[in-house]
């Protein structure tokens, strides 16, 4: 087990290093730099700009910049954000917990909703409710993430049991007790998480439904019937446990997908996470921050892959012995 984990983490580290290189090159090969005239104040003279460039190492040849970058990333130093005038690491340390909270809530909710919808569909397979649920899934599957976020924002701006922006209430949060703070935070996570759930549950429902239908003709289902189990018990116990296996693969895919959705959802709902951070870094061309966000994103994806492998081993007894 430990050996397996170690090997996977080592592989993941190589992948992240490769991604870091690709991103570094793509960004640094771009014409101009953050201090070029297009964005800065015309009153700032070229010599001042050059001074700034020197202080961030942007005057060096690309190869040297790359070496410096690799060395500092290896030490865990992700650089200094131009636009926020803070170390990138502390910016991300503030943003990451918010994104993780949002993704965790959305991940659990969309898997729960997706599996529930698929079970309901398969139980009534071929009938009207199967079609209706399938149609609703397809609809949300086809909706652009940011547009759905805007719609939900608009809807709840008129009719507002939940706050539509930020992670906490800016005026009252600090005055609340510990329980009140948790409630405040959860209230704020409802709408962004709802949006992400609506965007992501169809993928799970579609795959789960297909997986369940694939399992139904299995011999063990006939055995279960011959034992006198109800169709409902067979579906939700015997079939689901087997049909979960192909859906576990989606767990790994969920990380990049939810991260993508989080970019837009965080922007629309002003949720102070990684997505909002990278969107805000666009205009300032904050290279270290942009690069670090992509790097962290790919680390997420790699971690999702490892987690998926672990889940497979947890859920499929046939794989446990192979370790």
């Amino acid at each position: 087990m430990a050996a397996f984990l170690g090997r996977r983490i080592a592989q993941g580290a190589v992948v992240v290093a490769l991604v870091a290189t690709i991103v570094f090159l793509l960004i640094r090969l771009a014409p101009g730099d953050p201090f070029a005239a297009s964005m800065a104040d015309p009153r700032i003279s070229e010599s001042v700009r050059n001074e700034w460039r020197r202080s961030y190492g942007l005057d060096l040849p690309i190869s040297q910049q790359y070496l410096r970058y690799v060395a500092s990333v290896a030490k865990g130093d992700l650089g200094f954000s131009f636009s926020l005038q803070r170390p990138v690491r502390s910016v991300l340390a503030d943003a990451l917990p918010n994104t993780l909270l949002l993704m965790a809530v959305a991940l659990i909710a969309s898997f729960a909703a997706g599996i529930a919808v698929a079970l309901a569909q398969v139980r009534r397979r071929g009938r009207l409710s199967d079609r209706v649920l399938g149609g609703v899934s397809l609809l949300f599957f086809s909706v652009p993430d940011f547009w759905l976020a805007l719609l939900i924002l608009t809807l709840f701006a008129y009719w507002g049991p939940f706050p539509i922006g930020g992670a906490v209430d800016p005026t009252s949060h600090d005055l609340l007790g510990p329980a009140g703070r948790i409630v405040d935070r959860l209230n704020h996570v409802v709408l962004p998480a709802l949006t992400l759930t609506l965007l992501y549950f169809p993928l799970i429902a579609r795959h789960q439904r297909a997986a369940l239908l694939d399992e139904l003709p299995s011999d063990y289902v006939t055995t279960a019937r011959s034992k006198g189990l109800t169709e409902k018990a067979i579906l939700s116990r015997h079939t689901l446990r087997n049909a979960l296996l192909p859906v576990i693969a989606l767990f790994g895919l969920a990380f990049p997908a939810l991260l993508t959705g989080a970019v837009f959802v965080e922007k629309v709902f002003s949720w102070p996470g990684m997505g909002l951070t990278i969107v805000n870094a666009i205009d300032s061309r904050d290279y270290p921050l942009l690069t670090a966000c992509v790097l962290l994103g790919s680390a997420f994806v790699v971690a999702g892959g490892i987690l998926t492998d672990l889940l497979y081993r947890r859920f499929d007894p046939r794989l446990r012995d192979e370790l």
Binding site: Y220, T222, G228, T230
Partner: protein, 342 residues
């Protein structure tokens, strides 16, 4: 036999598909007495497995049991029973042993859990009671160290061991009838004998009836007292096992007998019945076996043979019963004549 345990009367199970109606089981009748072992024998495609599944009403759409069929069991007609009543019979009064012990077991649950599940559904004891009973049954079927084996998954057991698990599962509630659908086909020859011995022994001990479904007359000879031969979705011959082995009447049964590997036979080649079972969407007119039969004459094409009584309880669906002199003049079956002319 005054009051049979199970009597199947005029059972028809048809599959309504886009390419026609497959009459897989077409008017089958037979009965099993308490404590008796009845064998059903036939090639694949003859309808024997569909018959087995029909008795537990495990046929899924597009298949269905047609009107006019009756399956009487303990005073109830299974065909018209409601779902709840049916579930009360499955695994409890009638249980089933399947052919492929690997795929018949759910790969993600321990075998003990799957055996115990039967008692959790039908019994009224606790989970622990069900588990203990499962371990007991595993031990009864000859599984060594059953406590440990119960905690293992199907893939960790050998084929013979898995079949014992299925038998334990079938015996959990001491049912009145066990349907064994080719229980040894997927196993090695040595294991086959062990499993059959086990079934016979457990039957003697528990007084259960067995419906033994197989393509192998050898299995019938070892386990059954009476045998039903099926062909083309119909019963073509029924007799005491001794009577049948002393002299089969139907040409199809004769063919099956000749196809059995004989230890004493010196010839290297196995006899096989020429041709294959026709498609159940288009059974031939008259006798369904006529294309493959070496006695067939024009009456076989014209007239669908009824079940003729040969003697006592011996019946056969062959016109030879009324025109026995034709048995003296065999010829090449039609399928072989067709091949010869190509």
């Amino acid at each position: 036999m005054t009051q049979p345990l199970l009597s199947v009367e005029n059972l028809s199970t048809w599959f309504h598909t886009s390419s026609g109606v497959a009459r897989s089981v077409d008017g089958v009748s037979f009965a099993i007495g308490a404590g008796e072992t009845l064998g059903i024998v036939g090639e694949s495609g003859c309808g024997k497995s569909v018959t087995a599944l029909s008795i537990l009403r495990l046929i899924q759409p597009p298949g269905r049991i047609e009107a006019g069929s009756r399956i009487m069991f303990e005073g109830k007609d299974i065909v018209t029973l409601d779902d709840k009543g049916m579930r009360g019979i499955r695994g409890n009064r009638i249980s089933m042993i399947f052919q492929e012990p690997m795929s018949a077991l759910n790969p993600v649950f321990t075998v003990g859990d799957q055996v115990a599940e039967v008692a959790r559904v039908h019994g009224n004891g606790s989970r622990q009671d069900a588990w203990n009973r499962a371990v007991e049954m595993l031990s009864l079927t000859g599984i060594p160290s059953p406590e440990e084996r119960a905690k293992q998954y199907p893939h960790q057991l050998s084929g013979g061991m898995r079949q014992r698990v299925l038998i334990a599962m079938a015996l959990m509630m001491t049912p009145a009838l066990i349907i064994a659908d080719e229980p040894t086909t997927a196993l090695d020859v040595t294991i086959q004998a062990q499993i059959l011995e086990l079934l016979v022994e457990l039957q003697n001990r528990l007084g259960t009836s067995i419906l033994m479904i197989t393509h192998d007359l050898g299995v019938i000879a070892e386990t059954a007292s009476r045998v039903v031969v099926m062909y083309g979705g119909e019963v073509v011959e029924e007799a005491e096992v001794k009577t049948l082995f002393a002299g089969a009447h139907h040409p199809y049964t004769e063919g099956l007998m000749n196809a059995m590997p004989q230890i004493t036979a010196s010839r290297g080649r196995l006899n096989v019945i020429p041709g294959t079972v026709p498609s159940p969407t288009e059974w031939p007119s008259g006798c369904r076996f006529r294309d493959r039969c070496s006695y067939a004459w024009e009456r076989c094409e014209r007239e669908h043979p009824p079940l003729y009584q040969i003697s006592g309880s011996h019946t056969s669906r062959c016109h030879l019963a009324v025109e026995p002199e034709r048995r003296a003049h065999p010829h090449l079956p039609l399928v072989e004549q067709a091949n010869a002319t190509v």
